[in-house]
Amino acid sequence: MSALLEVEGLTKRFAGLVAVKEVSFTLAAGEITGILGPNGAGKTTLFNLLTGFLPSDRGAVNFDGRSILKERPHQIVNRGLARTFQLCRPFHGLSVRENVEIGCLAPRARQEGDWRRQASVILDEVGLAEKADQPVEVLPYGDLRRLEFARALATRPKLLLLDEPFAGLGAGEIGGIVHLIRRLHDKEGLSILIIEHRLREFMQLVKRVIAMDFGEIIAVGAPAQIVRHPRVIESYIGKNEAELGIA
C-alpha cells in the first residue's frame, strides 16, 4: 500500500492560538478515514491547510508523491485532491447543472472529455439529474449537500475531503449521504477523509479514526477503540457527551 497523502508536523498559529499543532498522519490510496474532534479541535483548519486555503506555518504535505504545501487551491484540486465545505457554498445565480459544470471545467476534469456530458453523468450519480435545470436558490439543504459532492466529484479527485457532510441534515438525508459516500468508495475506489464531531455517523462508514483536540492528534484507531479511548472521552466531557454518539 502506497501512501496517497502524507502529512508531517503540520502547524498553524492564529495570533497566539495554535489551531493545528504538529499534526502527522498518512492516508493510503483507497482508504476511508475519519477525523473526529469536538468543535474547535482544529479539524476544519487542518482541511484548509491541506487544500491550500490557508498557508501553514510549518510542516510538510505530500500528495501523490509531490509536495503541495506551497500550491494554490485550484492547483491542488487539479492534482486530484478535492473538498467540500461544511456550510454548502453553491454558486448563486447558476442552475444546478451549471454549478456542476464549473467543476467539469477544471483542467483536470477536461482531460476526461466533453464537460457537458461529464456534468450529466455526475448529476445522475449524486441523484440530482431531475433537478438539473432548477436554480440552486430553490434547492432544499439535503440537495445542496449533494451538489457540494457533485461539484467536488466533477473535478475527478483521487482523494475527497468532506467537511462535516452530515451537518444540518435530517436522519433520512444522512442515510442517503452515507450510501453515496460508501458507493463512491466501494465502486470507484475513491479515497476519502471525513471530518465529523459526532462518532455516530463514523461507526459504520470508516475503518480508522484520527481523533483531535486543541489542534493535536490525541488518538488513532478503529471506531470501536476510539469510543473507549480515555483521552477522546475526556475531550468531550463538559461539551456534550451525547455528541460523541455513545451516550
Partner: protein, 306 residues
C-alpha cells in the same frame, strides 16, 4: 439566444440606424454617436464587473487611456487616425494588467478602490505633465476617423453592435459561466479547480480593451481629449448606465448607455435644472426598478406574450 431576441436586437439596431436619416440634423447625428459610444463603455464595464461582481470604480482609466493613446498617436505624432484603434485597445489592456495583478488576487474592496485611485492618479498625471498632455486644456486638433458625420455615426454604431456581440458571445460561453461562478462564491470556484485569478485578470483586460476602443472613438469624434476623459464622474456615469440598463446582460447595459445620454439631451431645455431632474429620475429607477429598466422590461414583454 431565441428568435425573438434576434428580432428585437435587429429592430433596435435598425431604429438606431434610421433615426439620423429622418432627423436629418448634424446635431442629432452627434447625439446618437455619443449615445453609441456610451453604449460601448457600459457594455465593456458590464462584461467584467457585471458578470464577476467585482465593481470597477475607475473605468475612466481605460476610457481615457484609449482616448489619450489616440491623441498622442494622431494629435501629437501625426499617425493616420486608424492607428489609434489598435494602440487605444492595447494601452488600456496593459494598464489593466498592471492594476489587476496585484489587486484582483485580493478579496474585499481593494480592486474597486485601486481602480478609483488609479484613474485619479492618471488624471493628475495628465495635468502635471502638461508639456506632453496639454494639461487641463488637453490635446486637440485631432482628425476624424471618417469625415462625414453620418458615416462616422454608422461606424460607431457598427462598433457598438460588434462589441455587444463579441462580449455577449463570450459571456454565454464557459468563460462567462466561470465569471458568474466567481460572482457567486470565489473560494468555492477555486475549490472546483478553477484558476479564478487568471479569469478575472484576462476578463478585465478584455473589458479595458473595449473601453479603450470606445475612448478612441470618442476622442476622434470630439477631435480632442481632456482630463475629463479620466474623471471619476465618467466612471460613475458608466456604472449608472449599467444599473439603469440591467446589470449582467451586456446588451441591457449598452441600451442603458444610449438611454441615459438621450435623456440628458432631451432635458437640455430645462437649462440649469437639467442635472437635478436627471438624477431624480435615476434615483427613482434605482429605487423602484432594482433590476434596471431595459433588460427586465424586455423579459417582461417576453413573459406576457409567451
Amino acid at each position: 439566444m431565441r428568435k425573438r431576441d434576434w428580432l428585437g436586437a435587429g429592430a433596435l439596431v435598425a431604429l438606431l440606424a434610421a433615426l439620423p436619416l429622418f432627423l436629418e440634423n448634424r446635431y442629432f447625428t452627434g447625439v446618437f454617436t455619443v449615445c453609441a459610444i456610451d453604449g460601448i463603455w457600459a457594455a465593456s464595464w458590464d462584461f467584467f464587473s457585471g458578470l464577476s461582481g467585482r465593481e470597477n470604480f475607475g473605468h475612466a482609466l481605460f476610457i481615457g487611456g484609449g482616448a489619450y493613446a489616440a491623441a498622442f498617436m494622431n494629435g501629437k505624432f501625426g499617425f493616420n487616425p486608424w492607428w489609434s484603434i489598435p494602440v487605444g485597445i492595447v494601452v488600456p489592456a496593459a494598464l489593466s494588467l498592471v492594476i489587476g495583478f496585484p489587486t484582483l488576487r485580493l478579496r474585499g474592496p481593494y480592486f474597486a478602490l485601486a481602480m478609483l485611485a488609479a484613474a485619479a492618479i492618471m488624471q493628475q498625471f495628465a495635468v502635471i505633465f502638461w508639456q506632453y498632455t496639454g494639461g487641463t486644456e488637453g490635446i486637440y486638433g485631432m482628425s476624424r476617423l471618417i469625415d462625414s458625420s453620418l458615416g462616422n455615426y454608422y461606424f460607431v454604431l457598427a462598433t457598438l453592435v460588434a462589441t455587444v456581440a463579441v462580449l455577449k458571445a463570450i459571456a454565454a460561453s464557459r468563460w462567462g459561466r466561470i465569471l458568474r461562478a466567481i460572482k457567486g462564491d470565489e473560494g468555492a470556484c477555486e475549490a472546483a479547480g478553477i484558476n479564478t485569478t487568471f479569469y478575472k485578470i484576462a476578463s478585465l483586460a478584455l473589458s479595458a480593451g473595449f473601453a479603450g476602443l470606445g475612448g478612441v472613438l470618442f476622442a476622434h469624434y470630439e477631435q480632442a481629449v481632456t482630463p475629463d476623459d479620466l474623471d471619476v464622474f465618467l466612471s460613475i456615469s458608466v456604472i449608472i448606465m449599467v444599473y439603469v440598463g440591467g446589470i449582467g446582460s451586456i446588451w441591457g447595459a449598452a441600451c442603458g448607455g444610449i438611454l441615459l445620454n438621450l435623456l440628458l439631451e432631451l432635458l437640455r431645455g430645462l437649462g440649469e435644472y437639467r442635472l437635478w431632474v436627471f438624477y431624480i429620475i435615476l434615483m427613482l429607477v434605482l429605487f423602484f426598478m432594482r433590476g434596471g429598466l431595459v433588460a427586465p422590461f424586455w423579459q417582461r414583454l417576453q413573459g406576457s406574450r409567451a
